[in-house]
């Protein structure tokens, strides 16, 4: 992958130029579909855009010192990490990529959650600290399943290169992996039933409590970009291999949309679980997928 294609992927498609409107669209789809399932009409199409612009125009409380600087830094870091993750997705056929880009994608997907944890602690608010602690516990729980699922897929196909993974024919193990990733997504995106870090009725807005104005706008944007990146990862792994570029892009968008609808349906149908129930749920799932992952790795080694 040379510099031009890398920049084009980061800035145009599937990077920022595509990802930011897609992020707003997915945020709208989530709110609208939840509203429809609850028998409401829901927000207008441009609502996330209105919210974003409005937040840009609000004042922020004065922040001073290193703590204040860090508080301004975390949302920017989260947005750039999420945008980078979207830019890495191999949407178009033969769009480049490099050996090990799956690992970079996982790191970039994990960064926004790290930023949220750091942001809650550096805000100094008691609600922010509780929210951050919950986010940390949650992230330790679901990441075991998430990483094992991805490792098992990569091990079964002998590569850490995303494009090669997307191009290979689907195997039962890969579908299991996609299922495991789908189980982790509600926790990764902080939606019901795993909306613990921002549990509004318990700890106000969790790590975001002290954020206002443009900083909050950046958090909203990074949340939207996380939606695009996470659903895009599932779409990449589940999509059939196509050589026509416009068909590949279309299938990618359609599959992402279907995943967003599925997650919104789960969010609308469930209530928030307690933290210990959540942790138990993920560690019990982990056991099954850990066995599967180890078994697949052993099987591959025996076959090689």
């Amino acid at each position: 992958m040379n510099l031009t294609t890398a920049l084009a992927r980061l800035l145009i498609f599937p990077g920022l130029l595509f990802a930011v409107p897609a992020a707003w669209f997915f945020l709208w789809v989530e709110r609208k579909s939840v509203a429809l399932m609850q028998g409401r009409i829901g927000p207008p199409f441009m609502q996330p855009f209105y919210d974003f612009i409005k937040l840009l125009g609000k004042t922020t409380p004065p922040r001073s010192g290193v703590g204040g600087l860090l508080m301004r830094l975390w949302p920017l870091l989260a947005v750039s990490a999420a945008a980078g993750a979207v830019g890495l997705l191999p949407v178009l056929p033969s769009s480049g990529g490099f050996e090990g880009d799956l690992i970079l994608l996982l790191a970039l997907l994990e960064l926004p959650s790290m930023c949220i944890i750091a942001a809650g602690f550096s805000s100094g608010s008691i609600f922010g600290e509780i929210g951050s602690a919950r986010e940390a516990i949650l992230s330790v729980s679901y990441n075991v399943v998430f990483l094992l699922a991805i490792i098992s897929i990569a091990a079964s196909q002998h590569t850490f290169r995303l494009e090669a993974l997307a191009a290979l024919p689907a195997s039962p193990l890969r579908w299991l992996g996609v299922l495991a990733i789908l189980v982790c997504l509600p926790a990764k995106l902080h939606i019901n039933p795993f909306s613990l870090p921002n549990a509004e009725q318990e700890i106000y807005s969790g790590p975001m409590t002290e954020y206002a104005g443009p900083e909050l706008a950046m958090w909203e944007l990074s949340h939207g970009l996380e939606w695009v990146a996470a659903t895009g990862l599932v779409a990449t792994l589940a999509a059939p291999h196509l050589t026509t570029w416009w068909l590949a892009a279309l299938v990618f968008v359609a599959l992402s949309f279907a995943v967003v609808l599925l997650l919104s349906a789960v969010a609308a149908a469930t209530a928030r679980l307690q933290i210990d129930t959540t942790v138990r749920f993920y560690w019990q799932c982990t056991l099954i997928f850990a066995v599967l992952a180890v078994a697949s790795a052993l099987f591959m080694r025996l076959r090689a």
Partner: protein, 180 residues
């Protein structure tokens, strides 16, 4: 007004985020505020979102007759809301202290302590009146940020209120009592 300010004004009108605060209310108005978000009234169509933190909010919704204990909390929360902001007083209590008038435990009405933009009188007011009040407040907020409108309290006459107070006397009475 340049295009960016125009867009900002447009977006502010369409994205009012609320922070709800109870200053000693009987919970009647609080229930009606929540009812305005339910399927029947669905305030989310106007972009309304009930936020957990006053830092995120544009509009502060206050219910209750402002008890002695609540005064400092109200002032703190009002300062925590980042500008541009607006205040909606929901119910008859924050407008006039209602049936609790002259009680020694009260510091009401609300506009003795913070500037109020919209009064939604009623005991409790109907959810549609609350939704109208929020829409009005969003408009006031957007216009004020664009420096177009002199700020005067607005009254949203409810069904029960209209019979005795056609011209929005709660707002007028409140306006005459505003302290400098």
């Amino acid at each position: 007004m340049n295009p960016w300010n125009k867009l900002m004004c447009y977006c502010r009108r369409r994205s009012p985020w609320l922070f709800h605060m109870n200053s000693g209310s009987c919970n009647g108005c609080d229930i009606e505020l929540v009812a305005s978000l339910t399927p029947r009234y669905d305030a989310e169509q106007l972009g309304v979102r009930l936020e957990g933190s006053p830092r995120h909010a544009d509009i502060l919704c206050i219910t209750g007759p402002v008890t002695h204990n609540a005064v400092n909390a109200i002032k703190t929360v009002y300062d925590q809301v980042c500008g541009p902001k607006a205040v909606v007083a929901i119910g008859s209590c924050p407008a006039t202290t209602n049936v609790f008038i002259d009680s020694r435990t009260l510091e009401g009405p609300l506009n003795r302590h913070i500037p109020v933009d919209v009064f939604v009188p009623g005991c409790p007011p109907r959810p549609d009146a609350i939704v109208l009040g929020i829409a009005k407040a969003a408009e006031i907020l957007a216009n004020r940020a664009a420096k177009k409108l002199p700020v005067e309290p607005v009254c949203i006459p409810g069904t029960e209120c209209a019979a005795e107070c056609a011209a929005g006397c709660a707002a007028k009475a409140a306006a005459s009592e505003v302290q400098p």
